[in-house]
């Protein structure tokens, strides 16, 4: 049994936003346009948060890519009346769009604000409409959506491994954001495999979980910044 997790090295992250773009392209996330974005309805399953420190001119900028933390004790799961927010056997915090009736309770319960609601039916302006990923369902108006750890890639790799009668190796599955990251700041893998890259990084003394004191047990580990640059 796998237990998928992620590690993000904030020392390597340059805040370029390639992960955000890759996530949009992989997961058929609609672009809502400038009007709705100004109303705070932009949907970024993965966003790069910026933190400014110090006074001008001596300012430092810190980046932190924030996606669904896939908590082991996820606050979004017990509150969903229809089991749309559902914990899979592999520890993923799955969102089952067909079951969602849009109570939006999960998004209210989520302390990381990584759940996004389809306020309108999705539209893709040309030429974005011809690059939809056939492996990912398109969400209709009134449902909640969020980062899935690219579950379509996980499933495809597991099916392929089963067909090849081989076990999944570390690196066989990677998420769109980890694949796109030019600095290799995002690492995805199996936390149950102690030899995997993500397990090694998660054990780092620099490792921190977001809002750790809430007891949500996130599976995303952030390696905090050491450099002063």
């Amino acid at each position: 049994m796998h237990r998928w997790g992620m590690a993000v090295d904030l020392d390597s992250c340059t805040g370029c936003g390639a992960c955000v773009t890759a996530c949009h392209a992989e997961n058929n996330i609609p672009t809502v346009g400038p009007d709705q974005a100004a109303r705070g309805r932009a949907m970024h399953w993965l966003r790069v948060e910026r933190y400014w420190e110090g006074e001008f001119p001596d300012v430092r900028l810190k980046f932190r890519p924030v996606m669904c933390q896939h908590c082991d004790a996820a606050p979004c799961e017990p509150v969903c009346p229809t089991y749309a927010s559902h914990h899979t056997e592999e520890g993923l915090n799955a969102q089952i769009y067909n079951r969602c009736i849009g109570t939006r309770y999960c998004a209210n319960a989520c302390p990381y604000n990584v759940r996004f609601f389809d306020f309108f039916n999705p539209i893709w302006e040309k030429p974005l409409d011809v690059q939809l990923n056939p492996d990912v369902s398109v969400r209709e108006v009134g449902v909640m959506e969020k980062c899935t750890f690219c579950i379509q890639r996980i499933n495809a790799a597991e099916i392929q491994a089963k067909a090849d009668k081989q076990a999944l190796k570390d690196g066989d599955v990677t998420t769109a954001c980890a694949q796109a990251c030019p600095a290799k700041a995002i690492v995805f893998g199996d936390l149950n495999d102690p030899a995997s890259e993500v397990s090694r990084l998660s054990r780092s003394p620099r490792g921190r979980k977001l809002l750790d004191d809430l007891g949500t047990l996130p599976k995303v580990t952030y390696l905090e910044r050491q450099s002063e640059a």
Partner: protein, 236 residues
């Protein structure tokens, strides 16, 4: 009070039932228009997308849930107070009891409407209800929203009974003093009330039982509505 006065009071009280002035119809048109406006707004919200409600990230509960809680709060003021006053035999409660109980029933009906309007896909609202569906999946009983459904329905049923039981003698009164279709309708509603001492005794016993039973139900519904907000780690 002599019988002549009593009869006049009764006929005065029943006047609005038999005679309808133009002011009443004006009020019906006015308030009905507001209801139609609200229904139209809801249809527009479903047609155009939930975004027209003005709700946005990251606070996904807004106006509708506020309204829901407001109306549930209003419902607090009726049946519960009426039941407590009935149990302590406060005589001054009599003129206001029915008003309070009607407020509870209608406030609950309005309140229960808002969680449905609040849904992103309200046409699937029945998925919140526990019934053996073809999906083979029950609602998540850990979710306070499912308990809202139970609590509100229990309170609504209890409040309806609490309102309708003591109204039976009054239905019988109307039945006896009207003719035609009104007599038939109120005859059915009066459930064969004759006003015998035995019937009065049974009605009083039933009301005592209901008055005691409704108090924990009222406490539970307001507690469960509070669970909605206490279950989430994010303060609301």
């Amino acid at each position: 009070m002599n019988p002549e006065t009593a009869r006049r009071i009764n006929s005065d009280l029943l006047q609005p039932l038999v005679r309808t002035s133009w002011r009443f119809w004006l009020l019906v048109v006015l308030l009905g228009g507001i209801v139609l406006l609200g229904g139209g707004a809801w249809l527009y919200q479903m047609y155009a997308g939930f975004g027209v409600s003005g709700v946005r990230w990251p606070i996904f509960w807004a106006f509708y849930v506020t309204n829901f809680v407001f109306w549930i709060g209003i419902s607090h003021a009726g049946t519960l107070i009426s039941a407590i006053l009935r149990l302590v035999n406060a005589r001054w409660r009599r003129p206001i009891t029915r008003c309070a109980e009607v407020i509870t029933v209608f406030a609950l009906m309005i309140g229960a409407m808002f969680p449905i309007i609040h849904l992103g896909r309200p046409w699937l609202a029945f998925w919140l209800f526990p019934y053996p569906s073809e999906r083979r999946i029950w609602p998540n009983f850990r979710s306070p929203l499912v308990w809202d459904f139970f609590a509100i329905n229990t309170y609504l049923t209890g409040s309806l009974l609490f309102l309708l039981l003591p109204i039976i003698p009054d239905f019988a009164l109307v039945r006896d003093r009207t003719t035609g279709w009104r007599r038939r309708i109120y005859g059915v509603l009066a459930l064969g009330w004759q006003g015998t001492p035995k019937q009065w005794h049974r009605l009083e016993s039933a009301m005592q039982i209901l008055a005691i039973a409704i108090i924990p139900v009222a406490v539970s519904v307001h507690t469960i509505v509070s669970f909605d907000f206490s279950m989430a780690p994010v303060p609301m």
